[in-house]
Symmetry: C2
Subunit: 403 residues, 2 copies
């Protein structure tokens, strides 16, 4: 046998018998830079061009510091202590493009990485890290006209407080007289009204799409989609909500976590959010902003639980919204829609790594089309049930609304 | 000697010789409630009706947890570990009314208390706790019409990025046509554009003053007052600023802390903020909001370093603002003002515990009045160089502006 054949045969044997494929992972490139979500002056955490993340935490008398990010099934990334008192470590592999929540564990207690800003998810203000993406231009801060992100407080009788919403008004809105369509855009479980702005960068995505003429401008309304907590503190200019009125007892409900049992459907069915949205938020928005206050000027979409809420509410009240979007939040079927007022347009998306949803999507789309519905679907390449899927989905969905 | 006399004598001797007075501090009343600034579902930290704060941190394998709040000179409050793995403790004495920044130290590392929201001060996102105040009604969330807090991104050539500002528009602004005066309101050192809203509750204070007819409505603009960091990340819908444009190098300046030497005056003199405010922010506000765009419709005020900036800028450019306010941020003297265009009104305030400033204030006021200036001063009772002084100062100053 000639040398070349032997070499190939040997290489193949190594692959089979030693997991050689693992040991030929490309070397980690030492071009780490601070994550763009770090607090001012904070050098760590860092990310490199391949998507590896590197952490550095000062806790000189601690025994153990672990980061919740890293290879699945390995309990995150355990950091190594140096004599300097700094714990450092790098993820064992690259992370997916885009935004990731995380926290750290210091001697058994959960804390945030003091290097990063804070992002509300999993019912707490978490740390966050941003992995650069090849397509990150569409959510960059660019030198284009910018819309305004308005925090509004709207009265809610049903939850006995004022509730917070963020309203994106397009560039030029404040200087004009015309009316705009409105997208009501909901967050996922454990998140809140700041999420689409902070993690999702919805306002920057809108600014950029408008600047390049990709979309007809519209208003975006982002509110808190849960009512299980009653009056829930916002952090503002996400200012405190009703439970902060002096002298008022803190509602019991504030201390109850979202119920673990009953599942998502049960939680949504019992959720008073439909009342908040339809009876309280929409009237407030229509009274305080120049909106096209009818079905054809109104869209609703949401990610994950926000998608599930969108599905429940649009099927219960199909006359309210003309355009419906589910982002990693379930599907519509012709059976769901039978006998109901038809939406003008349906959008459904998943990350490619959400294989159940993503793999089933072609059939979901063809079934809906066969039944006469106007539908578009999208699968975000290389991302999972995370924000890069949803930033991209907003970018794909927006040009198709209000047509 | 009769028994009564002996008893009194004995008591007096105990006071003198055993510090009995200290042991007669009122007992700590066990009516602790979660601080209103806690994250949802978080029971700790707690405060009681006397202003004591109680902390509880889970770190089962840690040796030491300390809280930065407590009696001065005692290095904060050291918490005690229980078998459950929780560290608990109560401050040795009551804290002043109002908002307090803090952080915790776990085995030598600085972290935030996972129980609270985050508040930007001392150049980092800190934990925060709210001690109820007798006069807290004026900053409560009430069932009154609410203004909107708008995050705007304005172009800044001088710092080569888009910068963030929060703009409070009064209730009804969005439905009207009239023009409004504008107060430019600055934060202190180590704080940022979110501070007056989050810690200061400026929007709620404005809402309430307007609802009770205490003030003529005006717009409030709150921006980031430092330029030493070049493009500085904001956390949004305080969305990222210029340094997050993909592919752009992170400006070196982002990694430089505010210079320690040179003092406040040096830092302000070298600060490009005057250019940002006068040449970039004011034109943006006048172009995008219905403002009375002239001296008599413009006020500037600030707390601490923001007051120092106000003083420097108003004295350098007295024609820009008609109303000037220094909140724990220095004084004006007739000498400062000699030969310059006279302001319509000057406001100067301190917390009572800022004894230097507070004790000197009557003379500052009488000197200015004797020199023909329209001036009002205010001392906030029982507070120090902290936010309760500044919330109250805003409440005192606002009715006197734009008259």
């Amino acid at each position: 046998m000639n040398t070349k054949f032997l070499t190939i045969a040997l290489a193949m044997m190594l692959v089979c018998f030693t997991g050689f494929a693992q040991t030929t992972q490309p070397a980690v490139i030492e071009d780490f830079k601070p994550s763009v979500l770090n607090q001012p002056f904070q050098q760590y955490p860092q990310v490199n061009s391949q998507g590896y993340a590197r952490f550095r935490i000062y806790a000189p008398n601690a025994d153990s510091v672990r980061v919740s990010l890293g290879l699945a099934g390995q309990g995150g990334t355990k950091l190594t202590k140096a004599d300097s008192g700094y714990f450092t470590g790098t993820t064992a592999g690259p992370l997916d493009e885009g935004f990731h929540y995380y926290h750290i564990n210091v001697d058994g207690g959960t804390f945030n990485d003091p290097g990063t800003g804070n992002f509300y998810g999993s019912q707490r203000w978490e740390s966050g890290i941003e992995i650069p993406a090849k397509d990150q231009d569409f959510y960059a801060l660019k030198d284009v006209p910018h819309g305004h992100m308005q925090q509004v407080l709207f009265p809610s009788k049903s939850t006995n407080t004022s509730r917070v919403a963020f309203v994106y008004t397009p560039p030029g809105y404040e200087n004009g007289k015309s009316k705009y369509p409105v997208l009501y855009l909901q967050h996922g479980w454990g998140e809140n009204e700041t999420t689409w702005g902070l993690q999702g960068r919805a306002n920057l995505i809108m600014d950029n799409m408008i600047a390049e003429g990709r979309i007809k401008p519209f208003i975006v309304v982002m509110t808190y989609g849960m009512t299980n907590t009653g009056a829930r503190p916002g952090f503002g200019p996400r200012t405190p909500t009703g439970n902060l009125a002096p002298g008022s007892a803190r509602p019991d409900s504030i201390n109850r976590r979202a119920p673990a049992g009953g599942g998502m459907a049960g939680m949504i069915a019992n959720n008073g959010f439909q009342t908040v949205l339809l009876d309280e938020l929409i009237p407030y928005i229509d009274a305080h902003f120049r909106t096209i206050a009818k079905r054809d000027g109104r869209a609703m979409a949401g990610l994950s639980m926000g998608g599930a809420e969108t599905k429940v509410i649009t099927l219960a009240k199909p006359e309210v919204f003309g355009y419906w979007g589910l982002l990693s939040g379930g599907n519509y079927t012709p059976t769901d829609l039978e006998g109901k007022q038809k939406p003008k347009f349906i959008f459904i998306s998943y990350g490619s790594k959400e294989t159940g949803g993503a793999n089933g999507l072609p059939k979901v789309e063809s079934d809906l089309k066969a039944a006469g519905f106007n539908v578009a679907t999208y699968v975000s390449p290389g991302t999972a049930h995370e924000f890069q899927s949803w930033r991209r989905s907003l970018y794909q969905m927006a040009p198709l609304l209000f047509k």
